[in-house]
Symmetry: C2
Subunit: 245 residues, 2 copies
DNA sequence: TTGCAAAGTAAGTGCTTACTTACCATCGCT
DNA sequence: AGCGATGGTAAGTAAGCACTTACTTTGCAA
């Protein structure tokens, strides 16, 4: 590594050309959206109120008319993100699959929902990670509310299926961690590390199917469950995304 | 969520009480160590030169005597971390297991090595994540050098074992991603999100064994490979770490 | 048409930041 | 003893920060 390496990239986000005067609420929302983008990119400390104002095409004073402090603005953004919940309630959109005891559907739709959410709202993962690093309440709240809940819920399902004799007797929490690990790590890779997808370029559907396949084969009690499906789910999906070229 | 939530935690790192005059190189290393801790905690922008100086028990001017700029100090730290490589060369410490075609040993020792490294050098993951979020060269370099290399190496092994007929025909890159996901996500959880291990408290050995078990059963061609081992590797390891109480 | 509330700004305020300057203190060597 | 190299500091500086003040413009209802 050479000297003088660090040059934090400047994102010249083009000032939104909303020339005219805006209604109060409209301007408020616009500032919120703009600030969200900036906070997601540079974190709390890396984003100045001046930049926010410039990106919104107003003076700094306008920012402070709508939000008393920078903290308040940040919290307003996180509030919004927290209300989104993330991707909807798993208890709802997995209800059907769970009743049918369709393990593949349970894990695959969950994986897909998570990855799609992470992909369409890339700011979310960035805000969350920044928050976790900075020790901000948001990440703690998200953990306690969303993550804990998911572990409990999915862990419960796994436990049931173990009682059914369908899954091997592995600590359900470990299974959930393994599954979440594959999915979230993949999303984190795509939004943070390997945006160009140079190492692995597959669609979310392919990823969801592959991860689910590995996990289910990995925890299933019966060998039969493995052979049925998940056999043709791949064969060099690498660098052949439906999205690219 | 209530208003005015954000209060970035202040870490009152006690000033290192090294009263006396120090030799140049000694002081330099001390500042480096102290700064590493602070940068890992608060990132580049969140760490002031004043705090570094205070934590090292010297005046700010001393910091700038040893490092011309804050950037140079940061780079010096990342240089050191990068030279550590991370955890040693997998091609070396996996050599034996690979020659024996001992899949379990290959994945388990790799997982363990990674997790132990992450645990004993928690600053590493934090620095890396901060760097990735801030778009710093360090993360890119790490990606290109270490990560890409690991994918290639481990992917190569997987491909061989597929030719042997031992593994199912899944894209090797996907398999590596799934494996890395479980391991890294678990480490990230322990160092960033759930430091108290409230959700899952197992030793690195247990985690390595469990993840390897799931992965290998998940990708093995033969049903026999599954039953042999990995059967008794757990049964509610939750909340019973050898380290706690 | 006018009046007035709300949208908007220019130019600050005081504090913090990275970094500097000009000076003192102490160690080790002859 | 004494002196130069080196460890160390107090007190800056200019730029940048979050936030304020005092003021101007504009849409629109009566």
């Amino acid at each position: 590594m050479s000297k003088q390496v660090s040059t934090l990239k400047e994102v010249a986000l083009p000032a939104v050309t909303t020339s005219a005067r805006m209604a109060g609420e409209e301007r408020r929302l616009q500032i919120l959206r703009v600030a969200m983008r900036l906070f997601a990119h540079s974190g709390f400390r890396g984003t100045t109120t001046k930049k926010i104002a410039q990106a919104a095409g107003v003076s700094e004073a306008m920012v402070f008319r709508h939000f008393a402090t920078k903290d308040e603005l940040y919290d307003a953004i996180l509030d919004q993100k927290a209300c989104d919940g993330g991707m909807g309630d798993p208890r709802v959109f997995l209800d059907d699959a769970i009743k049918r005891r369709d393990d593949r559907a349970v894990f695959e739709t969950l994986a897909l929902r998570m990855m799609l959410h992470h992909e369409q709202d890339t700011e979310f993962l960035r805000l969350l990670t920044h928050s976790a690093l900075e020790g901000h309440q948001f990440s703690e709240m998200f953990w306690e509310r969303v993550v804990t809940d998911l572990y409990e819920f999915l862990g419960g399902y796994v436990r049931e299926r173990q009682r059914d004799g369908a899954f091997r007797n592995i600590d359900p929490v470990v299974i959930v961690r393994a599954f979440a690990g594959m999915v979230i790590h993949h999303s984190l890779n795509n939004t943070l590390w390997d945006k160009k997808r140079r190492l692995l370029d597959i669609t979310d559907e392919q990823a969801a199917r592959a991860f689910t396949g590995i996990l289910l084969s990995g925890i299933s009690e019966k060998a039969e469950a493995r052979a049925t499906r998940g056999r043709r789910a791949h064969q060099s999906t690498r660098r052949v995304s439906s999205r690219n070229k």
